[in-house]
Amino acid sequence: MARQGLFGSSLVKKFWMALTGLFLISFLVVHVTLNSFIFFNDGGVTFNTGAEFMAKNPIIRTMEVVLFIGLIAHIVDGLILWSQNRAARPVRYAVEKGGANRTWYSASMGILGTLILFFLIMHLWHFWVKSRITGLHHYGLDAEGQENLYGAMLEVFQNPFVVVLYVLGCFSLFWHLLHGFKSAFQSLGLNHKRYNPIIAFLGTAFSIVVPTLFALMPIAIYLKWIQ
């Protein structure tokens, strides 16, 4: 099996996993910041301004393509790693006490990632397809006369089933990040006694704050905390 070189060796695959993971984390920062504009509770005006900028700005649109490439690379690389890791233990243990030496989520990154992917497909269908392809005419214009992506949010999150799926998606993201954030630094060789506690703290804080903010969006709309 050809597994050497810049794209084949086990370590390089881990570097790509870490780099694409950190890139996707940087996307989450932008995404959660812009979406949190809905908490201004101003009928979505601030949020729609942000959404329109993201939809029109050529640099952002270019980064959107890069983002899809990064996401697909992360998924493909993850699947290759997953299948090689399964092949590395053809006969499983009859009894395995995994809880004694590792967290369940650090050993479940593949399944957590798959859950996030299912969530993403639904999420893109709900918002990205409408905003980028089919158009938002159905939701009219907001108070400032802007395209009303916020209107789409209000409609989608009236369905309690969808709200529950979104919250579950956020849980998957939480566990995935809780291991992934720290793990990316280790894979890149960034392990230092002085900085490890900072990385661990940032990773845990990020994993809690970002998915919580995301989960609050459908909940707040469904419970009419924001209009």
């Binding site: 099996m1 597994r3 050497q4 810049l6 084949g8 060796s9 086990s10 370590l11 390089v12 695959k13 881990k14 570097f15 790693l81 090689q84 890791n85 092949a87 590395a88 233990r89 053809p90 006969v91 499983r92 243990y93 009859a94 009894v95 395995e96 006490k97 995994g98 004694a100 030496n101 590792r102 967290t103 650090s106 050993a107 990154m109 291991h179 720290k182 793990s183 280790q186 894979s187 890149l188 060789g189 960034l190 392990n191 006694k193």
Partner: protein, 252 residues
């Protein structure tokens, strides 16, 4: 001899190509002062007296320094307890009436030879691929102490060098990865002035051999560090990642 009665569920496999199965063995008269291997000796003695085939398992020094003993006991490499090999595991860790599962290391790179004995030659081949230094031995050997080495570096190199190559890291890893072993062997040399000459080539060659052997990919679960009888730290894996990355982008 002793007063503990145990039930062992042992993996029996009559050769590399045999399918293998778990066989139950009652063991009586187990003393809590016995090591796990001595308990297996008692069972094997019984089996031989009955005219049955004894259980094959790896062992050598029986004092925790050779790395020969293995065994996945009740779902953990070297059984319950931390910082010990199987020969240092004593039966006082178990209770009268316990059922104990005993399996060989499970890894595509460690094929079972017979019963609980596996072939860990893959580690030797990784070591041979680059785990050495070039020293002048032709009559003008340099005194090791002539080279000044900072104490923290010497300590870290020694911590890595305590790896006994038992394979518990691979056995424990949910991915069957040999990163802790390879990282320890690379770190041990790359931290010292004597190891600088082959530094880049070492990281590249040892990782290449590691991948060829069919070990899995590290996903930083940290399980290896916890089950390692010598407490080899994950920071060595990060060092290997750095060494390999630097060598990959600068090689000609």
């Amino acid at each position: 001899m002793g007063n503990m009665k145990l039930t062992l569920k042992v993996w029996r496999q009559n050769g590399p190509n045999d399918k293998g199965k778990i066989v139950d063995y009652p063991v009586n008269d187990v003393s809590e002062d016995m090591s796990f291997l001595e308990m297996l000796d008692v069972l094997n003695d019984e089996l031989v007296r009955k005219g049955e085939e004894p259980i094959a398992f790896d062992h050598d020094c029986r004092e925790g320094i050779c790395g020969m003993c293995s065994l996945f006991i009740n779902g953990e490499a070297h059984g319950p307890g931390r910082g010990i090999t199987t020969c240092q595991l004593h039966m006082r860790k178990f209770k009268d009436g316990d059922t104990i599962h005993v399996e060989p290391w499970r890894s595509a790179a460690f094929p079972v030879i017979k019963d609980l004995a596996t072939n860990r030659g893959a580690f030797d081949r990784i070591q041979a691929a680059g785990g050495f230094v070039s020293v002048n031995t032709s009559g003008n050997l340099v005194d090791g102490n002539a080279l000044p080495i900072p104490k923290p570096d010497a300590d870290k190199a020694f911590d890595a060098a305590t790896c006994i190559g038992c394979g518990a890291c691979v056995a424990t890893c949910p991915n069957g990865s040999a990163m802790l072993f390879t990282a320890a062997k690379v770190s041990q040399l790359s931290l010292l002035p004597q190891g600088q000459v082959e530094r880049k080539q070492r990281a590249l060659a040892m990782v290449e051999q590691m991948d060829k052997e069919g070990f899995g990919n590290c996903s930083n679960t940290g399980a290896c560090e916890i089950e390692c009888p010598k407490g080899i730290s994950l920071e060595h894996i990060a060092r290997l990642n750095r060494e390999y990355l630097a060598a990959t982008v600068t090689k000609e």
